[in-house]
Amino acid sequence: MTIAMPQRSSDVPLVTIAPPSPRKPIIMTSLAVALGAVFIWMAPSDQVTTFLFNLGDPVISIPDWEFNARIGATVFAILAVLFAAAAWPINARRGSLMLPALGVGVSLVLAFLSWVGADSRIPITGLLQGSLLLAVPLVFGAMSGVLCERSGVININIEGQLLVGAFLGAVVGSLLSNAYLGLLAAPVAGALLGLLLAVFATKYFVDQVVVGVVLNVLAVGLTGFLYTRFLTEEPDLWNNPPLLPTISIPVLSEIPILGPILFDQNVIVYLMYVVVIVIQIALFKTRWGLRLRSVGEHPEAADSVGIRVNRTRFRAVVLGAAVAGLGGAFFTLGSVGAFGREMTAGNGFIALAALIFGRWNPLGALAAALLFGFADNLQNVLSIIGSPIPSQFLLMLPYVVTIFAVVGLVGRVRAPGADGIPFRKS
């Protein structure tokens, strides 16, 4: 590519670089135009949509927002197109397309809500709060995946880790009548299951997907067995944990809309913020994180500079599984209280999807988990107000977008280089 130029002039670059591909702006613009048009066309022009913003009895009240469904859909669709248009110059400068993409997404969702909310009321704040709560176990599960897979061990076992965390959290919380002690026990259960995954993956070099699948079966079997033997026999003793209380953070919880969503929750939600931030920083800004990523990307190179590959992986897996176990406690101590058979209901696999969709990044996985939580809760809300879209198709959404992500339709995702490949020192 480099051509030696005898006379260098400012308008002839030394190296020619291909102009940035307009793929992403094209996708964003066509999505905005196509979906926007559909929503405008579907929105009835003679009905009123109401957005509610108040949840409970807030200090600062925001008036409800009533507007004509079609006009609302039109305004939001135009907004989406404008955001998509803004992506073009940013893409040409090779800037980050995150903000325009977010803008397009939010605008389209609002246009969609203007349509489906016609003649009824959409509780915006409640919708978002519910989304966050549904995302909590997904986030913890995805963080477990980040730690394991960044170190090179595939974690299909998230589902089982969540389940045993939910189980032990409920049992210990119930026996000691203290939700916080249950919360301490949950990560222990996750870590014990993770210990098995780590031993079989890094000591016996068994196929990691196989171990993960089998340990899920083991988790379902063990919790189901103990559930039938003890929890259903004497539910008051074994399966009656107190719920974690809601802790309102002063001042912050009074912020309109955001306050009740983010800062009026139980301690697991606050722990989630901490865990995501700590893992993000630890993974990318510390020596520990560099080592962990190095054994996941290129174990031979890591080994040659004296990093103990399998020990690093072992610790990462156990730590990750503990995080997932903690998240599992949300099912019992954080929301329902009592443990139920197979109550994680596939959340571990949605967490895996979030991990992949978030490209094995803590913040990306967080965003993906929130998106999946939103899709789930939107389905809940729409089933109450009567939705024009079958609920099953909204529930499919996380899985469909994950497939699109892995086949490269919305930007190819790439796993850590040595993810899933056992390391045997030769």
């Binding site: 196929d207 063990l222 067995f225 899985y399 497939i403 993810d419």
Partner: protein, 434 residues
Amino acid sequence: MSDPTNNDPLMDDREASTGLSGSTTSDTLHPPTELTSSVTGELRRAVLGMNLLVSALAVVLALAIGAVLIALSSPNVIESAGYFFARPLDTVAAIWQSVTSAYSALIQGALINIDALREGDISRAFYPLSETLTVSAPLILAGLAVAIPFRAGLFNIGAQGQMAFAAIGGGFVGFAISLPAGVHLIVSLIAAMLFGAFYAGIVGFLKARTGAHEVITTIMLNYIAIYFLGWVLNQDWFQREGRNDPISPILSDTALFPRFFGDGLRVHAGIVVAVLAVVVLWWTLTKTTLGFKIQTVGANASAARTAGIDVGRIWIAAMLIAGAMAGLAVSMNVNGTDKVVTAGIVGNIGFDAITVALLGRGSPFGVLWAGLLFGGLRAGGLAMQASTGTPIDIVLVLQALIVLFIAAPALVRSVFRIRAGGTEALSLAKGWGT
């Protein structure tokens, strides 16, 4: 055989790992040298490699851990442990009693009801065996749906979704059209196989064209299929008239598998279909060009590519076969036991099939035995739960432990202090990216 001086479990690893140097890209279970092997040859090699011994010991170890779990959770044991220091033998007796009664109920519930046999009640005596065969049929077929892609180097976690999707096709043909008896059943089975093959084919196609990892796509497609089935069950053209819950009409009698022994025993002709499928796939794998290609791709995809095999096509072919088997598997329920399509028609068979295929080590006859074993455990587990109150979930624990131990022979050998012989690690490890 055993070597008491070998106390170092890692020693086994080193020995086992010789010959595994290419394990990141090859399925070491089935090196190409075994392509022409017969069943007896496989058995001989298995014995020589002490696979059989390790497998048997894996089952023993799993049963032992299961026994601990049963004993520790038994109400009688817990009660007698309360006065352990006064009368320790009571506890020992309670432990012995709880474990033996549970396991004997399990075995009797899987094979034969001895009491009924003594009374001469043949139908009741063979009820357990009938149940085992009934439960095994879908397990074997779904196990094949996981095992065939195994041989091509793919891990199909999607039997669950493929079965759910296939149930739509097979079920619809079964209740919506009318055909003569027998023909109707066959057309219904073909419809289920086509639907399953289409759904599994997506996975093979995406893998071949874009490299999307099959574990991710199958997991995602599982959920998509389950929600899609849920949606279909609410549509006018699929839902039973006059019902609000998601349930299809009852299948026509012409589309049902005939039962061998009347209505008393549930065992139906589906088990014959399952055994036939095992034989056909064994023949395909060992005697045909396609089978040779599948095994070659599974052993080393890049070498196969160099040798001129269209690897993508083989992946797609393996997934199409898998989907067809998943379709047959769900037909065991749709056209055999349940006679309707419901949201829970698949049960947990698609996931149990993974353990079946792993225990059967990817070989069709291995899947047959593994399916019968796990089918027996399930049928016996229900009987055990009914008669001794031991929760059936113990079966899942046993299943998981057996596969776990078989997957890690080094662990079993170190527990029983056996020296390694031959190569036998269960490994098809591949990264997400490959």
